[in-house]
């Protein structure tokens, strides 16, 4: 509890990761699942940046974080496009209802 250390941020990242995982597993709404994925990605980013600072890895960590953000954006775009497609087909985005390949 004294000075900030790596451990604090790792734990934070871990918590975020756990919550994100929890969201992914339990959510029935497709978008909710995507949100969970964003949480996981964010937790990874936090980890990267924390290590970049405290393990003195230069700018590598942050560059990685930027890459992650980029790819998260791409993934979110496509994922949401798919969700919209599902909505058009199934009239719902409840993943428990979308258990057939074709409706």
């Amino acid at each position: 509890m004294g000075t900030l250390s790596l451990g604090h941020f790792v734990v934070l990242g871990g918590i975020l990761f756990a919550l994100g995982l929890f969201t992914v597993i339990t959510r029935r709404n497709a978008i909710g699942i995507l949100m969970g994925v964003e949480l996981v990605l964010n937790s990874a980013n936090v980890n990267y940046v924390a290590f970049a600072r405290y393990a003195n890895a230069g700018y590598d960590g942050q560059v990685f974080a930027i890459f992650v953000i980029m790819l998260a954006a791409a993934e979110a775009a496509i994922g949401l496009a798919i969700v919209l497609g599902i909505y058009q087909s199934f009239e719902t985005i409840d993943v428990e209802a979308t258990d057939r390949l074709r409706q």
């Binding site: 995982l21 992914v24 597993i25 339990t26 959510r27 029935r28 497709a30 699942i33 993943v95 428990e96 979308t98 258990d99 057939r100 390949l101």
Partner: protein, 678 residues
Amino acid sequence: MTSAGYVAAIPLLPLAGAAVLGLGGATLQRRLGKRAIGAVACGTVALAFALSVAAFFQLLGLDPEHRLLLARLFPWIHVGTLQVDVAFGVDPLSAVMILVVTGIGGLIHLYATGYMHDDEAFWRFFAYLNLFTFAMLTLVLGDSLLLMFVGWEGVGFCSWALIGFWHKELANTTAGNKAFIVNRVGDFGFVLGMFLLFWTMDAQGHGTLVFRELAQHAHVLEGVGFWGWPVATLVTLFLFVGATGKSAQIPLYVWLPDAMAGPTPVSALIHAATMVTAGVYMVARLNFLFAMAPATLAVVATIGAATALVAATIALAQNDIKRVLAYSTVSQLGYMFLAMGVGAYAAGIFHLVTHAFFKACLFLGSGSVIHAMRGEQDMRRMGGLVKFLPATSTTFIVATLAIAGMPPLAGFFSKDEILWQAFNARPALWAVGVTVAGLTAFYMFRQVFMVFFGTCRADPETRHHLHESPSVMTIPLWLLMAGAVLAGFLWLPFGLFVPFEHWLAPVIEHHGEVHAATSGRGVEALLMLVSLGAAAGGIGLAYRMYASESLRPETFSEALGGLPYRAVLGKYWVDELYDLVFVRGVLLCCRATAWFDLHVIDGLVNLSAAIVRGCSWLSGLFDLWVVDGAVNLVADVTQFAGRRVRNVQSGAINAYLYVVLLGVLGGVLLYWSWAAAS
């Protein structure tokens, strides 16, 4: 013995006639008319008669001990010890028989040409009649028991054919069948006797069926037993069963009254003069065998007497003209067997001869009456015919006097001889015989009075057509009447003139006339008077009841509640009894065996089929449930598993992620444990 080939022609001539008429009779009748048929038929018998007379005279010329004319034709059966040839032999006994058969038979053939004149199957009738004559002659001329049996069966067949001659009526064919079947029962006994005789004789080393050899060696059977019984008794009993069938004695007489369904010449020839006498002839022929079996002789005499009595009582109430004569025949045959039973073989044969004359005359006379009445046979519709049928009436009345036993006609002598012999043997039998004589006189004269005297009860149409028969029918009547008058003088009582007895002596030898010397002439005369009295009483009673109307028949018919009358009118219901016991009994057995066959045997077959069906059903079941079940089980298990496992691929993303997480954690756990272990 003397060899005489022409003797074979005696039976073979009628056979040839039967062959010609049987095969070509229809054509012959069409081309040359019934006259030709009649000529052929009567011609063969007349020729046979001529030859029989010749044989008789030849025998006369021979020494009494060697009177045998033999005609051996060809070897027949030679198997082991059984050596039988087809051979015909004429000895005194068979000479008497062939004279009767061909002589009286010839007269009946002549009569039949007139009687059957309107029948289209004329040729068939005479074919059968000739065939019958052949069979009868074979019977009496056959020199062995086997050949006699051939004739025995032959006359049975011809009797069937002739009784059912008018076969379009079912009643006639039924009567024919009845005659044949009842005869068959008797024949069974005959055959058993024949077999037993040969077998036991063979066991003693003398296996033969030829009569003269049997006569020589039969004594070896004395004292021999078979299953605890004396052989002679058994053999003679069996043979006598055959005689009761053929000669219509109790219990096999029931066919004779029904046989009246045949044409009247048939009744005269077969059922009066010849076939029915075959049994008597057989007993006489085998007298040496019967002499060894006193038990059988007692049976023979008793049955003869009983039959005579029963048949006479039945004849009292009959209304059909031929039926009275039929029962009379049965009764007179009973007399003959009575004679045989007491050892008076010659007397029995004598009565056979006299009976042949007057019974044939009576039957032919009744045929003449029926012919004149245009088929009517019920005596209640006759009467007063003496005016219309003089020849018939005269001959009929004379013959009736003969049968009643009135001297000096033939019946008196023959009947009295029998009665005297019976008295010597067993007085009880004599008593029965005298009673029967009285009854005979009564019912015969009842017939005479009903038919020929009194008012004519026929309807006007029939009465208008009453006329005497043509001469071809009346000549035989006169001739037979002559025989009935004269034949008696061949054996006068008190031993006055007994050529007949002497003639038959070599054949009978020491076995007959056992009781000849037991009673004297006084007794004989007394007995004669008693029987005469009985006969006169019978005639008188008949006169009072049917001619003078001083005694009404109803007195007797309604006596004792009418039961005795109904009993004799209904022939003591013997036919009904036989039908119930035997006919229905056999039918019941048939039904039982048919039921058995249908239900048990077929049932077993069906059961086995059902079992097979059941097994196949079971195996089908097995196939369906077990085999198919196994296959289906596999499919079902797969489906079941699939259905369960399919749920993994639920399409629910959460579940997938869940499982991924689980897998990762599991992998980590594994890695940890591995790392910790190493």
